[in-house]
Homo-oligomer: 203 residues x 4
């Protein structure tokens, strides 16, 4: 691997060249099914239906592919939350929507996301990293409407994410249960200083 020029050449300046999408989609699938160890350029080229040579036409090296994937995941994440940026935080339904969004985002391609993010962490410009979570964190306000400190926002988002991730990783059978979702909402609301939502009677 030599230097890097991010996405190299960019034919007709249209970054949206279909090939790039195909490659990144294949990369996500491959990462998901084979893990980082099985993620090699030959396998990727095959899954993407292009030749290795073509891979190198669009990306300067393998890391760049991972990085692009990571950036793309971040972007998707940020976009999903963009709508709720200035939202009314006291609104329970909205909080629940946030949890659901998280659960959904986390639902598929766990390994792909992890590897992509890890690649980003390992090789990309650190400053770029906050980009994805930033908007979400900045929009969080407590029960009094005061914005959370960056660290508090970090704790909240990662705590919720961590509980969900653990449920996935540990193969918990309650992953899609109502109670699990409720407890996640509780956790978030209590941390933000809202009154504790009442617990439902056990099913």
């Amino acid at each position: 691997m030599k230097a890097a020029e991010k996405t190299r050449k960019i034919p007709t300046q249209r970054r949206s060249h279909a090939t790039i999408e195909v490659v990144l989609e294949a990369a996500a699938q491959l990462l998901e099914s084979a893990g980082e160890a099985g993620f090699n350029t030959n396998a990727l080229a095959e899954r993407a239906g292009v030749s290795v040579g073509t891979l190198y036409r669009y990306f300067p090296n393998k890391q760049a592919i991972l990085a692009a994937l990571g950036r793309r995941e971040h972007d998707a994440y940020a976009a999903a939350h963009a709508a709720m940026r200035a939202g009314e935080t006291g609104d329970l339904a909205l909080d629940r929507a946030v949890i659901r969004t998280f659960l959904h985002a986390f639902g598929g391609r766990t390994k792909a996301r992890r590897a992509a993010v890890a690649a980003l962490l390992a090789h990309a410009d650190p400053a770029e990293l906050s980009a994805g979570y930033g908007p979400v964190e900045m929009s969080l306000v407590d029960a009094d409407g005061a914005p959370l400190s960056p660290i508090a926002a970090f704790v909240l988002t990662r705590a919720v994410q961590g509980a969900m991730r653990a449920a996935v990783m540990e193969d918990a059978d309650f992953l899609h249960s109502q109670e699990f979702e409720d407890e996640l909402v509780r956790l978030g609301r209590l941390y933000l200083g809202h009154a504790a939502p009442k617990r439902r009677a056990p099913t």
Copy 2:
């Protein structure tokens, strides 16, 4: 890499064989200084002061070394939580101690921790990941002394763990800050229904 037998052979059943410790310590150092890319068996053997052959006497393959490191990290969580077991959960100092113990585990070697956690998540089986939490979860009680439901206990333990892990994985600069520690304690106490610890004035 073939299958695996975790720690292979275990000479004279004295698992505490110094060599294993030496290797794992060297692994952590190497990971820290050279990153995952520079983490190869020859370099590791050299840094550990043993031959490659010896590496393979104690570990079936390279992944197993990372996994052992990961298990260590995992043990740190479990140990931290275990301290809570007999504890009076209302005791703020104790909760804080638990968090603090964890945060300073692994000697501050963030990169090593990161790689170790990644290895653990990538290769451990789900059942193993949950191991060690059971007793902790069963002993958790809320502010009124009522035991938490299994799902609530799961959410609490994994949420705290998730936030800590994310700080490690994302190489957060506030990992060892007072505020981060405070926020983690807040999260746990609020979820259990205790009064929110006051936030200190920002430094």
Copy 3:
């Protein structure tokens, strides 16, 4: 060594790709000159004038190269026997030609043949070993023109093959002698009920 896909990939379906021939020829030479012990992939690649990587493009692992050599040897038997197929079995000259063809196959490289045969026996599956004999066996008739029973045909073909193989495996110095050839022909003709060819005066 993992599983195997026999000849892997087969670029542009033109199996006749010169490289495979070059590699197998180099393998036979190397086996002949260095024995099975000196038969390693680096040496083979060098002698073949290709890179190790290229070796692995055409063969999934080292064993597969030996196996391919073995299959070649096996094909020589089958081809030799196939010549009998339409043939008038009473024709002494033809029988002799078949034996002779086999005996001189593989360019007289006894050590290479030996290793190849060993590889074949060690790794081929039983069904493959029988392949190619069926038609030969069905066409065998005794001196009266009556077809041989399947078992009798089996005994004849494998007996002749066995004697030839043993001469190869045991590095017999008479492998290419006239007397050996004569005795093989005798064996076959007597079993089929033909008059015994006269023995020549010893040289």
Copy 4:
């Protein structure tokens, strides 16, 4: 592997030291179950229930173990045939006994014998090789009582052996059938110039 002193040291000059037997028996088993590839000193020591060090007390190196095994197989083979040395060859029952002896000898440990013999061929003194088959071959006489030439004897023994071996290797279902045995006897008797035994009516 350095030089070689065959069986090294020989404690109390009694070659029959039980350990040697144990090791050779384990070697035969291991060869049988794992093939030549899986035949390594560590595995052998374990199966034999001794330490590697002990292996090296009795054998100068790995090859010597294989060679000893080969020599032992040869000896057993020779011993089995010793009784029939001067026999009345016209006796059909005796011929049949020879075939049975072969079939029995070949019955078990195919791979072990093959590997052992191969090792002998590859590493031992070529002159030593004929030792096992020699006595048998020398005792063969044709229908007129004249001894067979060495090559004729070789062809006969290896042809019969080859047909049996092929039946084993190709997983033939008639391996233990009467007809198969009959045909082998036919093959041998016809080659020796006896009248062809009548074929039985098919079952």
